[in-house]
């Protein structure tokens, strides 16, 4: 596959993620006294959106420079990091899912939801965990395996 196409396939979902992040955060800004009533969502939403925007910009800029000088976007080392990130995030998400289900089954925490909704929330939470954990583990492993590490 051409590297330019790979770059587009990387940039498009990241742009979508940035768009979604701001789409969730922005509606809170128009509400009056939102910071007094419910500061959590607007603060966390804004931090998340800013973080995703900065991270996406850094990733796309670095990859664009790589393509521009004629180097490949992926090679055996970068693929090794992705594979290891997938392996670790899979294990962590399985543990997270078991923990979440154990909490729901044992009723130690109800999350204020009826039993049926609670089970579906646990299922959704488990599914959501894998990509979220992956996108946390991936940059961490890229840092751990950095080429100039001492």
């Amino acid at each position: 596959m051409k590297d330019n196409l790979k770059l587009v396939l990387l940039a498009a979902p990241l742009a979508l993620l940035v768009g979604y992040s701001w789409a969730f955060a922005i509606p809170y800004y128009s509400e009056e006294d939102v910071l007094d009533r419910a500061p959590g969502p607007i603060i966390l939403g804004t931090i998340w959106a800013v973080g995703i925007t900065i991270a996406s910009a850094i990733i796309v800029r670095r990859q664009y420079r790589t393509v521009r000088v004629g180097l490949p976007l992926n090679d055996e080392r970068s693929k090794m990091i992705v594979v290891r990130a997938g392996y670790f995030s899979f294990l962590i998400s399985i543990a997270w899912w078991i923990l979440l289900n154990a909490i729901v089954i044992s009723n130690t925490r109800t999350f204020g939801l009826p039993a049926r909704e609670q089970a579906s929330e646990a299922l959704f939470g488990g599914l959501l965990a894998l990509p979220v954990i992956f996108f946390l583990v991936w940059p961490y492993l890229a840092y751990v395996y950095r080429p100039d590490a001492g």
Partner: protein, 51 residues
């Protein structure tokens, strides 16, 4: 030859060449062979494996 030039010749990223130079990554036999070819050397001359 710069790291960028070598990376282009063997189809790898510059970070990979840097990691190999610093002993932080062990390349596959295929990549080691390509690097040796690009540098007109043998694998034995380029890589020393300590027991």
């Amino acid at each position: 030859m710069t790291q960028d030039e070598l990376a282009k010749m063997v189809g790898a990223r510059r970070e990979t060449i840097l990691a190999i130079e610093n002993g932080k990554y062990y390349p596959s036999v295929k990549l080691a062979h390509e690097i040796a070819g690009a540098l007109h050397a043998t694998i034995d001359e380029l890589f020393v494996f300590d027991e």
